[in-house]
C-alpha cells in the first residue's frame, strides 16, 4: 500500500521534473528522508531484542515491520535517486543497500525451510553451543562401550584417562555410561576393536563430515559387515558404536545447517552498519554541497 502511494507520487513527479527526478528536489529529498528513516528504523529491531521485557509489542510484529518496511525502503531509495547513481558515494551507498537487502531476503528465504529441514535431518539435535561437549561425551561413551568388551585400549589413552577420571568423580559420574573395561578381551572382539580404532574414533575426533561413517548409507553397509564378523554376544556393543556414529552425524548436519541459518547475519548486520555510516555521510555531504 505504502509502495503504491509512493509510486503514485513518483510517476507524475518524474514526468514533470524539468531536469528529471533527482535527490536534490523537494520531492526527491522527501523520498530520501523517508528511505533514510526506514533504514534507521530497521536498526530498532536489534534494540527491541535487547529489551525483551519491555512492553513494546511482540518481537514477531517487529520482525514483520523490519522485513516489509525494509523492502519499502528499496523503491523509496530508487525514487530518491531517480534510478541513477550520481557520484561515487551515492553509488557505494546504493550497492551496499542492495547487498543488505539481498542478504536479508536470502536469510528470510533460508528461515522458511531450514528449520524444518534441520528437524528432519538432525532429529537428535541439541543446543548448538553444546555440540562440542556432547561430542566429547560421545567419544567417551564409544570408548567405554568398546573397552567393556575388549578391555582397556592403550591406543585410546586420552579417552581411557578421561573416562577413569570422570567415573571416579561422583559429581561427574553421570556424564558417561560408567562401564568398566573388561579384564580380558572377549572372544571374537578383535573386529570390534579394529572398527573402533580405525573408523569410529577418527570419525568422532574429526568434524563429522569426512570418513566412511559420514554417509548414512555407507555407515549402514559398514555396520552390516561388522555384525557379520562379530559373535552375537557382541552385537549390542557394536550397535552402541553405530548409534553413537549416527548421533555424531546428526550433530554435523545440525552444525552445518545452523551455520547456514545464522551465517548470513555475519554479512547482513555489518553491511547494515556500513550502510548507516554511508547514509549519514551521504546526507551530510549532499545537504552541505547542494543547499
Amino acid at each position: 500500500m505504502l509502495g503504491a502511494i509512493a509510486t503514485a507520487f513518483y510517476v507524475p513527479y518524474a514526468r514533470q521534473a524539468p531536469e528529471g527526478p533527482r535527490g536534490s528536489t523537494a520531492v526527491g529529498l522527501g523520498f530520501g528522508v523517508a528511505a533514510a528513516a526506514l533504514m534507521a528504523f530497521e536498526w530498532l529491531l536489534n534494540a527491541r531484542k535487547r529489551v525483551p521485557t519491555w512492553n513494546l509489542g511482540k518481537a514477531e510484529t517487529w520482525l514483520k515491520g523490519h522485513i516489509w518496511l525494509g523492502l519499502l525502503a528499496v523503491p523509496l531509495a530508487l525514487f530518491h535517486s531517480g534510478f541513477h547513481l550520481r557520484g561515487t558515494l551515492a553509488a557505494a551507498l546504493m550497492i551496499v543497500f542492495v547487498v543488505v537487502i539481498l542478504s536479508g531476503v536470502f536469510g528470510l528465504v533460508l528461515q522458511q525451510f531450514l528449520p524444518r529441514l534441520m528437524s528432519l535431518a538432525a532429529p537428535g539435535e541439541t543446543i548448538y553451543e553444546q555440540i562440542p561437549h556432547v561430542i566429547e561425551t560421545l567419544r567417551l561413551d564409544a570408548y567405554e562401550a568398546v573397552a567393556a568388551v575388549c578391555g582397556a585400549l592403550a591406543e585410546a589413552e586420552g579417552e581411557r584417562a578421561e573416562s577413569e577420571a570422570i567415573q571416579s568423580d561422583p559429581r561427574r559420574a553421570r556424564q558417561v555410561l560408567g562401564r568398566r573395561p573388561a579384564a580380558a578381551p572377549a572372544e571374537g572382539s578383535a573386529p570390534l576393536r579394529r572398527f573402533y580404532l580405525e573408523t569410529v574414533r577418527p570419525f568422532l575426533m574429526g568434524d563429522g563430515r569426512h570418513g566412511p561413517l559420514a554417509d548414512a548409507r555407507q555407515a549402514e553397509r559398514l555396520a552390516q559387515g561388522l555384525l557379520r564378523l562379530l559373535p552375537p554376544v557382541l552385537h549390542d556393543a557394536a550397535g552402541d558404536l553405530i548409534a553413537i556414529a549416527a548421533e555424531r552425524r546428526d550433530y554435523a548436519v545440525q552444525a552445518r545447517l545452523h551455520r547456514w541459518l545464522h551465517g548470513w547475519i555475519l554479512l547482513h548486520v555489518p553491511l547494515a552498519a556500513a550502510l548507516l555510516v554511508l547514509l549519514v555521510a551521504h546526507a551530510v555531504l549532499a545537504l552541505r554541497y547542494t543547499y
Binding site: 521485557t53 519491555w54 511482540k58 518481537a59 528449520p115 545464522h262
Partner: protein, 739 residues
C-alpha cells in the same frame, strides 16, 4: 440420612454406613477380629455378628444399614454364637502364641478371654499338606518380620493391609479349607519375596503370626540411651499421666531394650542442649523426631526470606547485569495462607516474623522421622533443655499411646487450630466464637501412606483440612484414574459433596503419613448457616471445582495418544512449545527469560518432542503438580492463579527439583550471610540454594505474555493453555487432510 435402631437406641447415619460404624456412633462396641478400620471389611471371622431380624445373623462390619432396621448387637444368644466362633478359631491357634507370651496383646486370645471361650473345646483341624513350593510353617527369612503360620487365623487383615493400604500386592492366600495359608509372592519365603518391609502387615496382624523382629539396625549417633523403666515413668505434659501410657511395658521392653529383640535398642535417646545450641537445621535430611522433656526451644527459618526477583525492565533493565541475586520480601502484607509458613512442628510460623517457641511436651520433626522429609526449620535450645530424640520405631510406639495422642491433640487444638482454620482462605472469616465451638468438636484422624481417606461415590459426611502430610485427590475415569491435585498442610477437601448434598466426587488418598482435621457434616452445615460469607465463598469454590471437573472430562475424553500420555502432556496446563518448523534456534527466548529473571533463565531450549513441537524445559503448571509433594515448608505452591510460585521462604532443600518429573525446577546457589555458630555474635558468608521455576513472568504484569513468547521474532514460541485441546485439534486437522 438413614434412621435405624440398635439395641433400642435410635441412630441416624448417612447411607452406606455399616452396622459396625453405626453402633460405634452410639457407643456400642461390637467385638470383631478380622475387621480393622479403615480396611475394607471382609467379614471372614463373623465374630461381629448381629441380629437384624433376618433368618441368619449378619456380620456388622460388612452389612450396610437399611431404613428402619432394628438391630440387636448384644445379648446372650449373640454372645454364645460369638464365643463359639472364637473357640473354633482358637482350635487352630497355639495358645498362648508368641505374641501373647511376649506382649500379652494377642487380639484373639484377649477376645477369647473376654467372651469366656474355652480354647480346648474343639480339637485342632487335621493339618493338610500345603502345596506351595518353599512354604514353611515358620518363616524366619525376613530381616524384620517373623512369620508363624501356626498362629495365623487367615483373617485376611495382612492381605488387605498389603494390597489395599500399602499397595504392595505381596501377600495373598493359597490353598483351600483348612489348608488355606497366607503366602508371599505365591509361595516364596518372605525374605525372598518382593516385600518392601513397610511393616503394614505386621501392624495389622491380630495374633503372633507376623511379629516384629525390629524395624531396623539404625542407632542414634549420640545421646544417652533411656532405660525402658525410665521411659515408662516419664511423665507427659500434665506431669501426671505417663508419656507411654497404654503401651504394654513388656512390649516396650521387648521392642526397645537390649534384653528383648535388641534391634531397636538405642532408638530413643535423651539429649541435653545448652541455650543457643542448634538441635536441627532446616534443609538437612534426617530420620528422627524430637520430644521436648524439659525447657523450651526456638524454631525459626534462617534462610533469607527472599527470592530471585523478576526485573520489570526500564532503563536500569537495559543495562542489566546478568547476575543472580536475592532480593528482599515485597509482599509482607499478604494475608491468608501466605501469611503463615507451615513447618514440621505443632505450630505454623508467621511470615513477617518466622520465629516461634516450642515448649516442654511438644513434638517436632514428625514428618522427617516418618517420611524422611528434609527438616523444615532450624530449632535451637531457647534455654538449657532436655529432649528425647527418637527413630521411627520409637515414634510409632509413642504415637500408639492414647495419652500421648491426647496430648498432641490437646496441643493442636489449643495452639494451632485457630491459625490453621484461618489459614484456609475460605474460612478466614470464621468468628472466634465458632472456632471455640469447633475446638473440642473437630476430630484429628491419622492415615497411613496409601490409605484411602474417602472414596469417590461414597456419601459425603465430613469436611477435611490437612494438618500433616500430603493427600492425593483422584477421579476415576474410563481408562484410569486422573490425579486432580495434591493437598498439603492447610489444603482442604470434601466440601463439594457437603455443599451440593451429593456423593463424593473424588477419592482422597494419603500419600504419606497424613493427619487431617475432620469437621462433621453437621458442624460444617452449622458453619455455613452462621457465616453466610464463608458459605458464599465455599459455594463459589465448589462451583469452580465442578466446572473444572466438567472441563477436564470433556478434554480428557478425546485424546488417547500414547506419546501424549508418555510425555506427561496431559498434565500440562500451560505448556511452552517451540514450533521447530519456524524456530531458527536463535535462543532469543532463553535470553529473554534470563533478562526477565535477573540473569537466571528458567527455560532451556531442550526437551521432548511431539510432532514438530519441542516441549521446552520450562514449567508446565501441571494438573498433577508432583513438585508440591514433599516441600517441608509449603513454599512451592499455587496462589489463586495457574502459575507455580516458589515463595520467599524456600529453604533450598531441593525436594521439588527432584520431584519434578520433567526437570523443570532448578536450584541456584546464592551467597548469603548467616549467624556463625562457631563464633557467636558474628556472621559468615555461606552459599544457600533457592529453587527457581517459570512463573509465567507474572511479576512483569498480569496482562503481559511470558517474555519467551514476546521475544520470539518468528512466532515459534507459544504458550498453550490447553495442550489436550491444542494437539487434539491439530491431529484432527491432519486426519482430515489425509482423507
Amino acid at each position: 440420612m438413614i434412621d435405624v435402631t440398635i439395641d433400642g437406641r435410635p441412630v441416624s447415619v448417612p447411607p452406606g454406613t455399616t452396622i459396625f460404624d453405626a453402633a460405634r456412633a452410639v457407643g456400642i462396641d461390637i467385638p470383631t477380629i478380622c475387621h480393622l478400620p479403615p480396611q475394607e471389611p471382609a467379614g471372614v471371622c463373623r465374630v461381629c455378628v448381629v441380629d437384624v431380624g433376618a433368618r441368619v445373623f449378619a456380620p456388622a462390619c460388612a452389612r450396610v444399614v437399611e431404613p428402619g432396621m432394628k438391630i440387636t448387637a448384644t445379648g446372650e444368644r449373640l454372645a454364645t454364637v460369638r464365643r463359639n466362633l472364637v473357640e473354633l478359631l482358637m482350635a487352630d491357634h497355639p495358645a498362648p502364641c508368641a505374641r501373647q507370651r511376649d506382649t500379652q496383646d494377642c487380639e484373639l486370645e484377649l477376645r477369647a478371654r473376654e467372651l469366656g471361650a474355652r480354647p480346648a473345646r474343639y480339637r485342632p483341624g487335621t493339618a493338610k499338606p500345603v502345596h506351595q513350593p518353599g512354604w514353611k510353617p515358620s518363616d524366619d527369612s525376613h530381616p524384620n518380620i517373623a512369620v508363624d503360620h501356626s498362629a495365623c487365623i487367615v483373617c485376611d487383615r495382612c492381605v488387605r493391609a498389603c494390597t489395599d493400604i500399602a499397595h504392595n500386592f505381596v501377600i495373598g492366600r493359597a490353598g483351600k479349607g483348612n489348608a488355606t495359608v497366607i503366602t508371599f509372592d505365591a509361595g516364596a519365603p518372605m525374605g525372598q519375596s518382593t516385600c518392601v518391609s513397610c511393616g503394614e502387615c505386621m501392624t495389622s496382624c491380630p495374633t503372633g503370626a507376623l511379629m516384629n523382629k525390629g524395624f531396623s539396625e539404625a542407632r542414634l549417633p549420640e545421646g544417652e540411651p533411656v532405660p525402658v523403666e525410665v521411659l515408662m515413668r516419664l511423665p507427659g505434659k500434665d506431669r501426671q499421666t505417663p508419656l507411654f501410657d497404654g503401651i504394654s511395658p513388656k512390649f516396650l521392653a521387648k521392642t526397645l531394650s537390649s534384653g528383648g529383640i535388641g534391634r531397636n535398642e538405642g532408638a530413643i535417646v535423651r539429649r541435653t542442649f545448652r541455650a543457643g545450641e542448634v538441635i536441627c537445621r532446616e534443609g538437612d535430611f534426617g530420620s528422627t523426631a524430637f520430644y521436648i522433656v524439659e525447657g523450651s526451644c526456638e524454631v525459626a527459618i534462617t534462610t533469607p526470606l527472599s527470592r530471585v526477583r523478576n526485573d520489570p525492565g526500564g532503563l536500569a533493565g537495559f543495562f542489566l547485569k546478568m547476575k543472580s541475586r536475592l532480593v528482599g520480601r515485597e509482599d509482607l502484607e499478604v494475608v491468608g495462607p501466605a501469611a503463615l509458613i507451615p513447618i514440621d512442628a505443632p505450630i505454623d510460623l508467621r511470615r513477617d516474623a518466622p520465629v516461634a517457641k516450642l515448649n516442654a511436651g511438644e513434638l517436632f520433626g514428625e514428618m522427617t522421622c516418618l517420611d524422611f522429609y528434609p527438616r523444615s526449620a532450624t530449632v535451637r535450645a531457647a534455654e538449657d533443655c532436655v529432649v528425647l530424640e527418637m527413630l521411627r520405631p520409637a515414634l510409632q510406639i509413642l504415637l500408639r499411646s492414647k495419652a500421648f495422642r491426647a496430648q498432641l491433640e490437646e496441643t493442636y487444638r489449643r495452639r494451632t487450630l485457630d491459625t490453621h482454620l484461618r489459614s484456609v482462605p475460605l474460612l478466614a472469616g470464621l468468628g472466634q466464637e465458632f472456632i471455640e465451638y469447633l475446638r473440642e468438636r473437630v476430630e484429628l484422624a491419622r492415615y497411613e501412606p496409601g490409605q484411602v481417606i474417602c472414596r469417590q461415590g461414597e456419601p459425603a459426611d465430613s469436611f477435611f483440612i490437612v494438618r500433616l502430610g500430603f493427600v492425593k485427590i483422584t477421579q476415576h475415569r474410563p481408562g484410569g484414574d486422573l490425579v486432580r491435585a495434591y493437598q498439603g498442610r492447610g489444603g482442604y477437601f470434601g466440601e463439594m459433596g457437603l455443599i451440593q448434598d451429593a456423593p463424593r466426587s473424588a477419592t482422597c488418598t494419603a500419600v504419606d503419613h497424613v493427619e487431617v482435621v475432620r469437621i462433621s457434616a453437621d458442624d460444617f452445615r452449622l458453619m455455613l448457616e452462621r457465616f453466610p460469607e464463608v458459605a458464599k465463598d465455599l459455594l463459589a469454590e465448589a462451583e469452580r471445582r465442578a466446572r473444572e471437573n466438567v472441563e477436564v472430562e470433556a478434554h480428557t475424553a478425546n485424546v488417547d495418544l500414547e506419546d501424549f500420555l508418555r510425555q506427561g502432556l496431559m498434565q500440562a496446563q500451560s505448556l511452552l512449545l517451540l514450533d521447530l518448523d519456524r524456530c531458527t534456534r536463535c535462543d532469543l527466548c532463553v535470553q529473554a527469560c534470563a533478562t526477565a529473571h535477573d540473569g537466571v533463565t528458567r527455560l532451556v531450549r531442550e526437551g521432548l518432542r511431539f510432532e514438530n513441537y519441542l516441549v521446552a524445559t520450562s514449567c508446565r503448571q501441571c494438573r498433577d503438580p508432583l513438585c508440591m509433594v514433599g516441600c517441608p515448608v509449603g513454599s512451592i505452591r499455587r496462589r489463586d492463579t495457574l502459575e507455580i510460585q516458589i515463595e520467599d521462604w524456600c529453604i533450598g532443600c531441593g525436594v521439588c527439583a527432584e520431584n519434578c518429573p520433567y526437570g523443570n525446577i532448578n536450584m541456584h546457589g546464592f551467597r548469603v550471610t548467616v549467624d556463625d555458630d562457631q563464633r557467636p555474635g558474628r556472621r559468615k558468608a555461606v552459599v544457600r540454594e533457592k529453587a527457581t521455576v517459570c512463573d509465567l513472568c507474572k511479576n512483569l504484569g498480569s496482562d503481559q505474555e511470558p517474555s519467551c513468547v514476546v521475544a520470539c521474532p518468528h512466532g515459534a514460541a507459544i504458550r498453550v493453555a490447553n495442550p489436550r485441546e491444542f494437539f487434539a485439534a491439530r491431529l484432527g486437522e491432519e486426519t482430515a487432510g489425509r482423507r
